[in-house]
């Protein structure tokens, strides 16, 4: 048995920095009820216990301070700004729901929603399919399995970096590797980066390429499936396809659910690759081809100095992601199969 395998899938290491505004949308736990540490009172009955508590809080204090200063505080501020006209310089002015009205009426905002939606809907399933496919291949015991796992995982580690995005832009440009390969097959050439309708697929390709993280989780899930089920099925004459549909898929459905959830949330937050691949001096792609939601948020906030509107956009994204997460959780009753406890 693989010692690393646990019955509950552990959160996978996330490659690279997420976009800050909505970190911890669904993944992070609830706000701890604890207050900031206080010096111990003198009258306490169990001084020792108190002191231990204090020590605990003190050890946590860097985290607590970080959470309060860098996450909770900014989030509260951003919630307030969402209802104000705030240009970064003058004091925020309360305008109620005007930011939201403006947002919904803005055609460019709708473009950003479409681009992001498209990216999530295309990118996430492809990435998970790739991850599951490769995980199935790597689940067999063969020589050099460790090497392959590491090799397939590697892109997840470097994929979110700026340099990879720059290389990606180069690969998909006019007359570069992808373009020439296309020409070999007689496909219409011209590069993907200059084409507003095609550039989004270079982003999809980049995320699919980083299938390593969900793959590792799938692998852990596959190791959990009891071999005797396959043996029994084989005795009953089930072919590989049937075994996959009737045994593997139901048995790893909790892991699949976990991956779908994580990757969907992650996809909504795409920023770095879109910003770098899409923009060279001009914001987010030819004709807004890579204007994903967070890019537009960034442009409104930092380029157009409309921090109030940008905050409203951030909260709208949070709501949307929360809604999608809720729907996924609701749907799991229908397709996620949990083993009885105490297996």
């Amino acid at each position: 048995m693989d010692a690393a395998v646990t019955s509950v899938p552990a959160p996978a290491p996330r490659p690279g920095p997420d976009s800050p505004p909505d970190r911890g949308t669904a993944g992070a736990g609830p706000v701890p009820g604890g207050r900031p540490p206080r010096p111990p009172g003198r009258a306490g009955r169990s001084r020792r216990a108190r002191r231990e508590n204090l020590a605990g809080y003190l050890f946590m204090s860097p985290w607590i301070a970080g959470f309060l200063l860098l996450t909770a505080g900014p989030m509260a501020a951003s919630l307030y700004f969402a209802f104000t006209d705030y240009n970064l310089f003058d004091a925020p002015r309360w305008i109620g729901l005007d930011n939201f009205t403006e947002m919904f009426g803005d055609p460019r905002w709708r473009t950003s929603v479409e681009v992001t939606g498209w990216y999530v809907v295309i990118g996430t399933p492809l990435k998970l399919a790739a991850a599951l496919g490769v995980a199935l291949l790597l689940d067999q015991s063969r020589r050099g399995q460790g090497f392959y796992r590491a090799a397939f995982y590697a892109p997840s580690l470097i994929g979110a970096s700026v340099s990879v995005a720059i290389v990606w832009r180069a690969i998909f440009s006019d007359g570069a590797a992808v373009d020439r390969t296309q020409q070999l097959f007689g496909l219409e050439a011209g590069g993907w980066i200059g084409d507003p309708d095609r550039i989004i697929y270079s982003l999809v390709a980049l995320t699919v390429w980083q299938f390593g993280a969900p793959m590792v989780i799938f692998l852990a899930g596959l190791k959990q499936v009891p071999r005797e089920l396959y043996e029994a099925a084989q005795v009953d004459g089930a072919g590989p396809w049937r075994r996959f549909w009737s045994i593997t898929l139901p048995m790893i459905s909790p892991v699949l659910f976990f991956n779908v959830l994580l990757e969907t949330i992650h996809s909504f937050q795409i920023f770095g690759s879109a910003y770098i691949i899409g923009s060279q001096g001009n914001a987010c792609g030819p004709a807004d081809g890579t204007l994903v939601y967070t890019c537009y948020l960034y442009i409104q906030g930092f380029e157009n100095s409309r921090m109030g509107l940008a905050s409203a956009m951030a909260w709208m994204l949070l709501l949307a992601v929360a809604l999608v997460t809720a729907v996924l959780f609701w749907s799991q009753r229908r397709w996620v199969h949990y083993e009885e406890a105490g297996r």
Binding site: P39, S61, P62, G191, G194, P196, A283, A287, D288
Partner: protein, 427 residues
């Protein structure tokens, strides 16, 4: 944090100290440049530009610090677009750099937000000299009687051409040539050299400004747009036709060539840009590059003005006198002029202009080009752009790109532009 107790006090203190230190670091990161005990003043100076500019500026600063040992300069720089994002964030946190590079499009914007220092007082106190500027440039940074920026070097729009292609096609632009002659030349280049004539002038706000000025209008008035939807429809419709016919380069390809220029990438024979940018073409491309005059409507008026990068001070600086001295040194010192060359345009003061004689062909051309502009008296005054002009420029570029790619019909793009510009100018 105070902790009492006997057991484990030391470890507790360490943890507490660690957190306190971490908090302290955060706090220190927010502090503005300040003086230290011995009277030394530290100023923060930021600008946008390339590594090459940074090296030149750092050498100039070394000279300054030698002359003024009590003033230290801390520097930071970014590419143009990133510069303003960082600047906005810093300024909103009350952490504006003491001295920073500035341009005409930002004077009113940041003046309205109380970011810019009025340097007039420092001029009166004799810490900053306004004499010795060329071609009336000292007026350039004035807004409503306030002196908000001091020019470092003049530049002007020009047509950068690939001379080899132009010569082979038998095209020789002359001062005063008209738009028709220019487009005939492009068509001839397309026909004889198989290369698009121009990279696409339809999206360059500063060029459209010149075109409008030739017709007695301008891109901006002091508070809004100085042209109508019909004007822009006309400009973009013709632009789009020429993209279609191949006289202007295919935008799909010029986009992908970035950050290289379409001219050095061999996609077009010429493009409009600022004359001091020409320096970069020689190092970026393999051909020979030169400057050609702006086409005219009436055979004379180009609509041109001298633009300039400027140095501005922060209104929140604690050391306005030192800021003024530093700016004074950077614009007047001949040695700085020699170091900077034409990197930020032709030096604004006569002292620096005379100190530097360009040795390279490109530098010589820039000097000749601007001297010809001054001599031919085509130059006009410029009004500082209204607040929001930078957002208008970005939208102009973006929507013209969408239009040129055929993603958005011209009338639609025009309508969108006016909507977005209205929002940007009213914020």
């Amino acid at each position: 944090m105070r902790t009492q107790g006997t057991v484990g006090r030391r470890s507790l203190l360490k943890v507490a100290g660690g957190s306190a230190a971490a908090l302290g670091l955060t706090a220190a990161g927010c502090g503005t440049g300040a003086g230290s005990g011995d009277g030394t003043v530290t100023l923060r100076y930021t600008w946008w530009g390339s590594d090459d500019r940074a090296q030149r500026i750092n050498r100039s600063i070394a000279l300054f610090e030698k002359k003024y040992p009590k003033i230290r300069i801390r520097t930071d720089f970014q590419p143009y677009a990133d510069f303003w994002k960082k600047f906005n964030t810093q300024a909103s946190g009350g952490n504006t750099p003491d001295v920073f590079q500035n341009a005409i499009g930002f004077l009113r914007k940041y003046d309205a937000k109380n970011v810019l220092l009025d340097l007039r007082e420092q001029v009166e106190q004799g810490n900053l000299r306004l004499d010795g500027f060329r071609a009336g440039l000292e007026k350039f940074g004035e807004v409503d009687g306030k002196l908000l920026g001091v020019p470092v070097g003049s530049n002007s729009m020009a047509l950068v051409v690939d001379r080899t292609v132009f010569t082979r096609a038998g095209v020789a632009p002359k001062p005063g040539w008209t738009w028709d002659e220019y487009h005939d030349a492009l068509a001839r280049i397309k026909e004889r050299q198989g290369r698009a004539g121009d990279a696409g002038p339809y999206g360059i706000m500063y060029l459209y400004d010149l075109y409008l000025r030739q017709h007695g209008k301008a891109f901006f008035t002091t508070s809004g747009l100085g042209f109508t939807e019909a004007d822009l429809t006309d400009w973009w419709t013709r632009g789009f036709e020429r993209v279609r016919s191949g006289v202007y380069a295919d935008p799909k390809r010029t986009i992908q060539a970035k950050p290289r220029s379409a001219v050095t990438a061999g996609l077009a024979a010429c493009e409009f840009t600022w004359d001091n940018f020409t320096i970069r073409y020689a190092s970026e491309g393999r051909s020979e590059y030169g400057l050609a005059p702006i086409p005219t409507t009436d055979g004379r008026r180009t609509g041109q003005y001298l633009g300039s990068l400027m140095l501005s001070g922060s209104r929140r600086t604690k050391h306005p006198r030192e800021v003024a001295r530093f700016i004074d040194f950077m614009v007047h010192d001949p040695e700085v002029g020699r170091i900077m060359g034409y990197d930020r345009g032709v030096p604004a003061t006569t002292a620096q202009f005379e100190a530097y004689a360009p040795g390279d062909p490109v530098g010589k051309q820039i000097a000749a080009y601007e001297q010809q502009l001054v001599a031919s008296r085509v130059l006009e005054p410029i009004t500082p752009h209204p607040a929001g002009a930078d957002v208008c420029e970005a939208a102009f570029l973006r929507l013209s790109e969408e239009m040129s790619l055929g993603e958005r019909p011209v009338p639609d793009a025009v309508k969108r532009y006016f909507t977005e510009a209205k929002t940007a100018l009213s914020v």
